[in-house]
Amino acid sequence: MAGFVGSLTGLGGGVVIIPLLTIAFGVDIRYAIGASLVSVIATSSGAASAYVREGYSNVRVGMLLEIATSAGALAGAAIAAHVPTSALAILLGVVLLFSVFAPAHPDDGKNSAPADTDSLGAKLLLNSEYPGPNGNISYSVKRVPLGFGIMGVAGMLSGLLGIGSGAVKVLAMDLAMGLPFKVSTTTSNFMIGVTAAASAGIYLQRGYIAPGLAMPVTLGVVAGSLAGARLLATAPSHHLRTLFKAVILALGVEMIYNGWAGRI
């Protein structure tokens, strides 16, 4: 059953797995967090292996920002044990709503301006290029400290809730640092595994990772993400996305309501 849930959410990630497990199957949110973390590492690493080789992910930007996300994740995991589960549920609901309304618009080309050689991004040799339809497109990296700060928050959410917080990571890179959308999404994916691994060790030792739950969820999510990639390539993804957003919206509201009512 949990595997089926996982495969359905191969498109969405941890932020969908946790509410589905808790609301639909009555799983304790702490077990759901543990299982979600493992599946998040699996899908992130699997997808990243392809993106990295194709040259979309910016490994340097990723590594630099991973300092912020993994420190945030450690802090998040450390305080998670002292936060009531109802508060975790409400926070997760808010993140779900955010991920629906977060601006996600592939607006490539906005960043074709020549690199500003004085910026911190240039000094750190973060500027790079990525494969476009007509050869490589170069881009520069802006507002590094702001992006770094938002990444700390993303890491903290990841550590608290056992999610990848990809939407917040994309926000930091796409909007704050001005990276092309395709680079932001693939680099975010690249970073999610490390962020999740930072807190997974703590959760494992706290007994949150139940093999009987983590196994079907993870295998389901991996199978689902493989199938999902194929489905998205063929099906009219516009309708699929709209349906998916409605589901996430409903889950978010449900999580906040249940958390508020003290049921989780």
Binding site: V52, G55, V59, A71, R206, A214
Partner: protein, 122 residues
């Protein structure tokens, strides 16, 4: 010169290998688990924490040697967690080979943070 592209290709390979090994082992442990506990319905509705025997590397290894399905699944979880950690360790090596010391230090910092999380927090 050890190029960015070469490093990224090897990094991608490392990630894929880690996930494939972890998932294969998880599947094997899962089949064993189903054979043993397939009939019973395990409930996760009430959190009681997993037994201490599967919360540490040493404990998990002991379970694996005893042929425990739960132990095998937890070992696959450990490999899954180790995959991004190995990727960061590889970045330390890669940037050092490029003599890119700033990013060698950056990668080392990330590795240190990850190691801190994996340490035994008794």
């Amino acid at each position: 010169m050890y190029s960015d592209q070469k490093m990224e290709a090897e990094m991608g390979l490392l990630l894929r290998a880690g996930v494939v090994v972890a998932c294969t082992l998880m599947l094997a442990g899962g089949v064993l688990y189903m054979l043993r506990y397939g009939g019973e319905r395990e409930s996760f509705a009430i959190f009681h924490g997993e037994p201490a025997s599967i919360e540490s590397v040493r404990g998990i290894w002991r379970e694996v040697r005893a042929g425990s399905a739960r132990g095998i699944i937890q070992l696959s979880v450990l490999i899954m967690i180790a995959t991004p950690v190995m990727r960061v360790a590889f970045a330390v090596y890669g940037f050092a080979r490029q003599r890119h010391w700033l990013f060698t230090a950056v990668s080392l910092t990330v590795l240190g943070l990850l190691a801190f999380g994996l340490l035994e927090h008794a």
